[in-house]
């Protein structure tokens, strides 16, 4: 998964301003951040500090109001929605807090989905899906539907879906937020295994238990990167 280009992600003076009627909300203000390939970065901060906004910009779900974003050497800040979708498909894997599996698709089809959008051949897709599910230990659940799985299993399927296309970077939004501590710990272990295998991971969390387990922590407060963590995220 690691790429020779360094840094893999470079944000420079990124701001994001939301306009609602006459109110202007600065979700992010002049954020600059470099992430090297193979890093495991935890983005921490209290609710409303801009974590999710930062993740959406990193994941090209949205574009910044100002600033530059270079992903694997390519400037991507001003891409059109279609161009962003193409990059997303190729380079980014998402893990969501609410798992976001598609209820009408079985495990296989959920994991296969990003590969289909990439236009890979069925045989190639099948091999990659099997590999990803084996990696998360759920190959035996391949024809189950999400509703037939536990929360932890669902999140592991979501992890398989995120890694199946071997993206440049894995973005995890509070991946343990909807899980009990036991399942949360299993998912974190899985992420560490992926990281150990060379994956670049950016994880948003406000759970103090997991802040210290990343290779690097980035603290956000009021839309800015701060040097010290807010009091509630102080790691013991």
């Amino acid at each position: 998964m690691a790429l020779a280009i360094d840094p893999l992600i470079r944000l420079d003076g990124i701001s994001k301003i939301f306009h609602t009627e006459e109110v202007e909300t600065h979700a992010l203000s002049r954020v600059s951040l470099d992430i090297r390939a193979g890093e495991f970065v935890a983005v921490c901060g209290p609710s409303g500090c801009g974590k999710t906004t930062l993740l959406s910009l990193l994941g090209l779900l949205d574009s910044p109001s100002e600033g530059s974003y270079v992903l694997a050497g390519e400037p991507v800040a001003t891409l059109s929605p279609q161009q962003r979708a193409r990059v997303r498909c190729r380079a980014i894997g998402f893990i969501f807090q609410a798992f976001n599996l598609i209820g009408d698709l079985d495990v296989y089809s959920n994991v296969e989905l990003p590969l289909k959008y990439r236009g890979l051949a069925p045989a190639e897709r099948r091999a990659m899906v099997h590999e990803a599910l084996e990696r998360v230990g759920l190959l035996h659940r391949i024809h189950h539907f999400p509703a037939q799985l536990s929360g932890g299993q669902q999140q592991r399927v979501a992890v398989a879906r995120a890694v199946v296309g071997k993206p440049l970077v894995l973005l995890a939004d509070e991946p343990t937020g909807n899980l009990d501590s036991s399942n949360g710990a299993q998912v974190m272990t899985l992420l560490h295994e992926l990281h150990a295998g060379g994956a670049t991971i950016v994880m948003v969390t406000h759970d103090p238990r997991y802040v210290g387990r990343a290779g690097r922590n980035v603290f956000l407060f009021d839309g800015r990167i701060v040097e010290r963590p807010p009091a509630e995220l102080e790691v013991a």
Partner: protein, 811 residues
């Protein structure tokens, strides 16, 4: 119970008022569809089912003779002989139509009348509203100068004055005493008649077995079955054939129910229209059910709360059904207004030759139908949403979000099935409309064999009392033609016994060389015409010549035949110079041979959709004396205008009046108009079916749009997730359109099979188009596919614009 019902209705009304757009759409859709169905039902009921205004109308029978298996009429002699011998019928009454010039203080006018047996009204069970009916002794020559008026004629001509009874009127120049006025219920004419006179047969006519022009109405004797009566008539038919072979060989007698005979031809067309409008209503119900299902899903939380606090399934269903019934009743009430308005439109603008169409109205049976339809519609579109509401587990909507990810709305089988049904029904309607349109186009393209452009035509009837001798008749008609031809703006003028498309009286003729026997007879339409008829109508003479002023009595008898008769009478031979016997005999009993001097192109004699029949033309100056009786001394004056047709209408009336002020020129209009009139029924059916097809198309499009839109709204988060995982706009667009296209595909498949199965019902209404016409089916499939894909593409575009950020938002 009543309290609960009222409470449910009150709540339903309040709840619907909070959703004004939905309520208005449903009510409007229902009003239009129930209104249209009610209007068409009213017409169907009036024309096909409303009892005839006679006593025990279902027992009334109409008897026809059959000749070579085809329906024919009765001659006076045949009627008299059968009437004397038959034992099955209580009444066996002859009747035939005639037109009369009614003159007096008012402008002369031509009115349709009927000569009927003296017991005609006793048979029908109808008494005069004023005065008296016919007495048996009045059905005799010299005593028949009595007349009964219809209510409409009494109102129009006499202003409803009771003193009209007992007054004298002139019919065809002869004084008649008005003995009574029939009630308004008798304004349902069998011959289009407005007055009645008694038949008055001379002994000679009673012995005449030729000249077939009457019908016979009858009522069975008590205890006699229809089967027995038919058996007796078959026997008497055989007796006629053997007793009078010259006139009756190959003749039989058939018994029909009067009602069937009067309206039977209209049944398939009206049933098709009723079926079509019912389909539209079904599609509308499916659409409304879909709307209510979506509304039910949106209100699932409210329903769950009700269930949680103790409402049972029955209560929840009653609650949901109350909303549907309120919508149905309001829609039905408005629909009744639309229906009332629609009935008026249909009665006014519908084809005028449909019997009793003008009497269509919203009466008690129609009201009951509308009420039943309203309640049924409410149940049809309300039941599925109500069942679903009641079946939903209460905890489902109450739980705070789900953890298992996005549950798509695309797999809602019931809603999808409804849309599939809509598409299938719409395809059936579209192909039906398409077939009728193609049939109409084919009819429009038929060459009538003459050029109607620029020609005006009207009828002139000469009263027998004034114009007794054939010479007089010929002289007057020739003078009328001279005057008409001299009218400024008239290029040419002529008279003919029946203009094209109007039918004509038929005669049997025998080509020379064949046995002078009825088995050699070719039944052909006869037209008496003046020399300029062919040029006035621009009927091409393909061989030989037309008539000249020299073709008169005393010169060799001549005839022009049409191509069909030429083929039948002289196959593979040149008919010019050949001879044909017809219409009369020489004083010594030998056939009066007529030489074929020309062959005219085939003309559509009875309608554009009827194949040409064998036909022949005789110069009026050589017309057999009896022909003036057959034609009732009524000819059509046809004039070709040099310019504007309307400009010569009034001068033509004056031209006729110059010859005899008592002669009205009636039924005056353009031949182009007559051609259009002959297409009125097929045009009207095609127009109505096209309107229904278009509504069905729109409703189906709305249905597809609604289901896909709803699905997209339900799947917003799923779409966001897919986009976050790399789906581009095209992927999302394709996914959503594919859903619509799949529904459309299934619907089109089902609809195609249904349309194929039902197309046979249209067969009798089609002209030169197969009920399984591939281009029509292909166009229907393509149009509906495009519309369905387009209807799906709109929500698909919206879906493709989904912000993928929604994937990051927790429910």
């Amino acid at each position: 119970m009543l309290h609960t019902l009222l409470q449910n209705i009150r709540f339903a009304v309040r709840s619907l008022r909070r959703a004004p757009t939905l309520s208005a759409s449903v009510i409007l859709t229902l009003a239009l569809c129930i209104g249209a169905t009610t209007a068409i039902f009213s017409v169907v009921y009036t024309v096909l089912f409303r009892p005839l205004p006679f006593r025990d109308p279902e027992e009334l029978l109409l008897l026809r003779t059959l000749w070579r298996g085809e329906n024919s009429s009765w001659s006076v002699g045949n009627w008299a002989d059968v009437a004397r011998q038959q034992t099955s019928f209580r009444y066996f009454v002859p009747a035939y139509g005639e037109s009369y010039n009614l003159s007096g203080a008012e402008m002369p006018e031509n009115v349709n009348g009927a000569r009927v047996g003296a017991d005609y009204f006793t048979l029908l069970g109808v008494q005069p509203e004023l005065g008296r009916g016919f007495r048996p002794e009045e059905a005799a020559p010299g005593r028949d100068a009595v007349v009964l008026l219809s209510h409409a004629l009494w109102q129009r001509r006499f202003g409803g004055d009771p003193k009209a009874v007992g007054s004298e009127i002139r019919l065809d120049g002869r004084q008649h005493t008005v003995i009574g006025v029939m009630p308004e219920s008798m304004d349902y004419p069998i011959f289009g008649e407005e007055l009645w006179l008694p038949v008055a047969f001379t002994p000679e006519r009673l012995a005449l077995h030729d000249e077939h022009y009457m019908i016979v109405l009858a009522r069975l004797n008590p205890g006699v079955t229809l089967g027995r009566a038919e058996e007796e008539m078959r026997g008497l038919g055989r007796w006629l054939a053997t007793s009078f072979p010259k006139d009756n060989k190959e003749r039989g007698i058939a018994v029909y129910h009067l009602m069937n005979e009067l309206v039977g031809d209209y049944r398939p067309r009206l049933y098709v229209l009723l079926g079509a409008v019912a389909f539209v209503l079904l599609i509308a119900c499916a659409n409304i059910a879909n709307l209510l299902l979506a509304r039910g899903a949106a209100r699932s939380r409210e329903t769950s709360i009700r269930a949680a606090i103790g409402a049972g399934r029955r209560h929840l269903m009653a609650h949901a059904l109350a909303e549907s019934l309120v919508l149905a009743i309001v829609g039905g009430a408005l629909g009744l207004l639309v229906g009332y308005w629609g009935v008026g439109l249909l009665a006014t603008y519908g084809p005028q030759d449909v019997p009793r169409l003008a009497q269509a109205r919203v009466d008690a049976p129609v009201l009951i139908f509308a009420l039943g339809l309203t309640l049924l519609s409410g149940l049809v579109f309300g039941l599925a949403p109500a069942l679903r509401t009641a079946a939903r587990p209460p905890h489902e909507a109450l739980k705070e979000g789900g953890r298992s990810g996005s549950r798509a709305g695309s797999r809602d089988r019931l809603r999808n099935t409804l849309v599939v049904a809509e598409i299938a029904l719409a395809l059936v309607l579209l192909t039906g409309a398409g077939l009728l349109i193609r049939s109409g186009v084919a009819l429009n393209g038929v060459d009538p064999g003459f050029d109607p452009r620029g020609v005006v035509a009207g009828s002139v009837s000469l009263p027998a009392a004034t114009y007794e001798s054939p010479q007089q008749v010929v002289r007057v008609f020739e003078r009328i033609v001279e005057r008409a031809a001299a009218v400024p703006g008239v290029a040419s003028a002529s008279v003919v016994s029946a203009a094209p498309l109007e039918g004509a009286s038929s005669n049997g003729l025998i080509p020379e060389g064949r046995p002078l026997d009825i088995s050699s007879v070719i039944n052909s339409l006869m037209r008496l015409a003046t020399p300029d008829y062919f040029s006035t109508m621009r009927i091409k003479l393909v061989r030989g010549r037309g008539f000249t002023a020299q073709d008169r009595r005393g010169t060799p008898l001549v005839m022009v035949i049409n191509e069909t008769l030429a083929r039948q009478a002289f196959p593979n031979e040149d008919p010019i110079g050949k001879r044909i016997a017809c219409c009369e005999e020489n004083p010594d009993g030998s056939p009066a041979w007529k030489e074929v001097i020309g062959v005219a192109r085939d003309v559509r004699a009875t309608g554009l959709d009827q194949e040409p029949m064998p036909e022949f033309y005789l110069p009026i100056a050589q017309a057999p004396a009896a022909a003036w009786t057959w034609t009732d001394r009524t000819l059509t004056l046809a004039a070709r205008a040099q310019g504007d047709e309307p400009a010569i209408l009034t001068p033509l009336r004056s031209a006729v009046a110059e010859v005899d002020p008592a002669l009205p020129l009636y039924n005056l209009g353009t031949m182009q108009g007559r051609v259009l009139d002959s297409l009125a029924q097929s045009r009207f059916s095609a127009m109505l079916l096209t309107v229904f097809g278009a509504i069905a198309l729109i409703l189906a499009a709305i249905g597809v749009y609604g289901v896909i839109s709803y699905g997209v709204a339900q799947r917003t988060q799923e779409i966001g997730i897919r986009m976050a995982l790399g789906a581009g706009h095209g992927d999302v667009l394709a996914m959503v359109v594919k859903h619509g296209a799949t529904l459309a595909g299934i619907g089109l498949g089902v609809g195609f099979a249904a349309a194929l199965a039902l197309s046979g019902l249209l067969e009798s209404l089609l002209f030169n188009v197969s009920p399984t016409d591939p281009p029509t089916f292909a166009i229907g499939l393509v149009v509906l596919s495009l519309v369905a894909v387009l209807a799906a593409a709109l929500p698909a575009r919206r879906a493709a614009r989904t912000d993928p950020m929604v994937a990051l938002r927790n429910e």
